[in-house]
Assembly symmetry: C2
Homo-oligomer: 562 residues x 2
């Protein structure tokens, strides 16, 4: 089930033949233009075709090529334009700016597809001996610059190591409820193989269809149902990693006091220590039943309070997702743009007004999964807490709608970027007492920075946020922002516009008690802020580990530790 | 509420004035003698009185003393015999062998009691500048050699840093449900201070009364209700640590993808990186209600299967504790030794025989805590699973009995050691499919090794075990073993007897898929086996971190990393 690279967009999200998420002439365009203070029709800013892009010449010499081919076979060493372009960057807004402008200066010299842990280890050892840079690449879905092929100042040979031929489930243990799979398996393939045993990992990030097991661990990712299945660092049991110092098999134990558990160093290491080749992870039964539904709150604070109470009362939920008023409004308006409201819509609006939810309501989606007894217990308890916190039940359709489109968010980005619009997301987490403060500080920082980058003072940005991962002590905040792109300064100007916004948001996060990332990772984009979060001693420890395992710095340089 | 050292046994467990857990003439003595194949009366092997013990002269010079006094004040620098003897070793069987024989060769040169994080940091910096060894000491309850003052080959000045004057709760946040306390606070004082806010940490190790918050984190410990409250690495949110490289404030976030979470390096670091001065941890409401009760199983495997199903079905339990047949028999017989069975006992026995539980039953204790709805939901679900797995309900009294004596186990050790008996415990964990295999391998290794150390072939050891911590993927196994001490070779012979048994068990654990410790830690006793568990790369990483933070190796040398 490995996905052929030529069937995927090298400079966008998803398959090349996908249905256009926002087709030309869709009424939503007018509404977005209006909301951003832009004049319709929006500008045309199509991406460059690969045939018009120039790649730097591959620096892979014949001898090195031969040594790589001896390990993986001649068919698995690629220096062609498409493979190199495909592996030049990940899928962040910043990456897409470069790719769409045809800037492939970061292309790796070659792309290699090992087929086993042994081949990967041999590859890493040759690279270590020859001081060749390796960039681990799974789905390539990083949105923080985690898979950039050649960093700007890198003079060594750079090879992107694509893990996706390592895509087998090796073992399913339905007594321990753990499974072991090769790290390059994509989400849907893993899910399908496990479902045949009646089990699942339950890790469903928005990138699920185009990201891999190894990447989830490396980035310390979170799936949309993390309340039930946990972030990567929770479900990871153990792993095998090909490192320059040899194969690292992390300790495998249900729980231990045998010193620090080094699986927790691997989770979040982002390929800087080695290439994850296999991972063992926890399983759950495929849920007997599930229950997804929606509620409205009059304020974000009331919805947040409901989530806090549900989690702290230990109600077993799979997902709690609260959109702020702007996000609720944005998606509601976007989906209804161009439709004449019918009698039912008027009645609904009247009812909401009557109940006090019409002004700027916030929608909460709840999801429960498991056996019937647990789900009904959880649903009833959550419903009572939500009602007591001021929430109003609005039925199952918001849940069903969300589920139907749960992986499609990134597909809207490409058509928006085709129309002069910038769109990016960033996320953080903080403790419960700080949620509203951090929410408003980051929202304001984003709004102000967007405004600062715009020359036309009728224009403005849209900033919205949601809570999507919650814990006993706090929750994540996920921001989406849409803005008119500065088209007058070329690629450089566009990057500067993005950097201005990104810096403002990141500074606001760190200054106000947030983490620089809850689940996207650090990559290159967040590396400048990591020291502030970890502190000088923390950074010294991370550096010491890096130097011990990868003394020449060949593993994914420039990421995580800049 | 800090405990005065003179009120505690320097060479045993608990207060000096405690009630004798196994008084002279108790009928249990005869039964134990018989079970071990020893002739009654058992030998008298009293511990030496401190007045007859000789301490090595303190190597603390006047200049160093002055520099310490400048930081903590003259009253908090101790070189007297009792303080030094008290801080010579922890509370393992191995430690007690030495202490009871009057071997105080490991005494630190001085004992210092800092009163704040700042004082502790200043202390660590002076020690680093002068190459003085520091041994962090909280309750001193380590049972793995984690607080030994002076390691055998150490020539530097050694100072035991007693943290127990740092015993305040600094902050209780009942929104985030976290609290911050100084690390030297004892379990009961912490529990009492939190209870005033209606909350608890819920960490109740057997050592609860005589161990501290900092020690729980440093050792990666587990409380008896870990199913609900989690091991230390789960409830730890963040900490402040005084290290030779400066104060280390670990990152504080509900969850993050900002690289590896370094709190997970602190948990289990056992004082080898620095002295924990403050820790922030998760809270739970003091439970509205609780439900503890007992069940019998015909076999250990059936009981184990019930635990697995309860945990994997996500029934919210606080504790599941399954004794094997030997442990069930041992405690049942010990508590009834010397009592004439009454009519009720005969009827009970007859009923158990009829139901098939009379042969060698295994007792399971279940504990649920929380709000009434969760507890009744959990109790009913657990009861159904237990019944389906072959368990028979035997009421609430086994639960109540266990709760009443939950912290008293170690108090039986001193009187047993007074009567020529050795008693020690060790523990591990493994994945569900391996539980019975590991249980039988370690039991056999212990039995064989005990037999190997005995010269009288009528004598034998008693080995018993229980599961007390369970997870979705596996569980812990806790072994207790009692044996006739070899009294013919002096202290050296006794240590060799213990080492023979300890080595056999540790080798069996590692060879059969267990971790060298589930919650006791590594200390000096398990250090020889750590490399086998972590692998060469894991050990290199731990060494690199140690050398970075503590380049001179002044922090608790010889522990964890030998």
């Amino acid at each position: 089930m490995t996905i052929d690279r030529t069937s995927l967009r090298w400079n966008g999200w998803g398959p090349t033949n996908q249905h256009d998420a926002l087709p030309k002439g869709a009424p939503a365009w007018d509404w977005i233009a209006d909301a951003l203070g832009m004049t319709a029709p929006l500008p045309q800013t199509p991406a460059k075709d690969i045939s018009t892009c120039t790649l730097p010449a591959s620096g892979l010499d014949g001898e090195t090529r031969l040594s790589l081919e001896r390990i993986v076979g001649a068919n698995q060493v690629h220096t062609g334009d498409y493979e190199r372009a495909f592996h030049t960057r990940g899928k962040s807004y910043h990456d897409l700016l470069h790719l769409r402008a045809g800037d492939l200066s970061n292309a790796p010299d070659a792309v290699v597809y090992p087929r086993s842990a042994d081949e990967t280890q041999a590859l890493v050892e040759i690279a270590a001996a020859s001081n060749i840079v390796l960039v681990p690449y799974g789905g390539g879905s990083s949105v923080v610059g985690g898979v950039t092929g050649r960093e700007a100042d890198e003079t060594r040979i750079c090879i992107s190591v694509d893990t996706t031929l390592m895509a087998s489930v090796l073992n399913v243990d339905d007594t321990a409820m753990t499974a072991t799979a090769q790290a390059g398996i994509y989400g849907p393939a893993l899910d399908k193989a496990l479902a045949a045993h009646g089990v699942r990992l339950g890790h469903y990030p928005q990138s699920f269809e185009y990201s891999t097991l190894g990447g989830w661990v490396a980035a310390r990712g979170a799936g949309q149902n993390s309340n039930r299945y946990g972030k990567a660092e929770k479900w990871l049991v153990s792993a095998s990693v090909a490192t320059p110092t040899g194969t690292w098999r992390t300790e495998a134990t249900p729980a231990s006091a045998a010193g620090p558990n080094l699986n927790q160093l691997l989770a979040g290491s982002e390929g800087t220590l080695g290439i994850i080749t296999e991972a063992t992870f926890k399983l759950h039964d495929v849920p007997e039943t599930e229950d997804y539904r929606g509620y409205l709150f009059r304020t974000f604070a009331e919805g947040r309070e409901a989530i806090r109470r549900i989690v702290q009362t230990e109600v077993p939920v799979a997902m709690l997702r609260l959109s702020d008023a702007d996000e609720t409004f944005f998606f509601r308006t976007l989906s209804s743009a161009g439709k004449e409201p019918g009698v039912k819509d008027h009645l609904t609006d009247a009812y909401l007004r009557l109940r006090g939810y019409a002004d700027k309501p916030c929608v909460l989606l709840t999801g429960m999964e498991g056996d019937a007894a647990n789900v009904s217990h959880a649903r009833d308890r959550a419903a009572r807490i939500i009602a007591a916190s001021g929430g109003m039940h609005v039925g199952k359709s918001p849940g069903a709608n969300w589920k139907a489109g749960r992986f499609h968010g990134p597909m809207v980005r490409d058509p928006m970027m085709d129309h002069g619009l910038g769109v990016d997301t960033l996320e953080t987490s903080t403790f419960w007492p700080n949620i509203e403060h951090l929410h408003s500080c980051v929202t304001k920082a984003l709004q102000d920075a967007i405004t600062e980058t715009l020359t036309d003072d009728r224009q403005r940005g849209i900033v919205m946020a949601h809570i999507s991962h919650s814990y006993a002590d706090g929750a994540s905040l996920y921001f989406t922002f849409v803005f008119p792109r500065r088209l007058d300064g070329g690629l450089e100007g566009e990057v500067e516009q993005w950097l201005t916004i990104k810096r403002a948001a990141s500074d606001a996060i760190l200054a106000n008690g947030g983490t620089i990332s809850h689940h996207h990772g650090v990559g290159t984009d967040h590396a400048p802020w990591l020291g502030q979060e970890k502190g000088p001693l923390g950074m010294q420890m991370l550096d010491a580990i890096k130097k011990t395992i990868d003394p020449k710095g060949i593993m994914n340089p420039g990421k995580l530790l800049s």
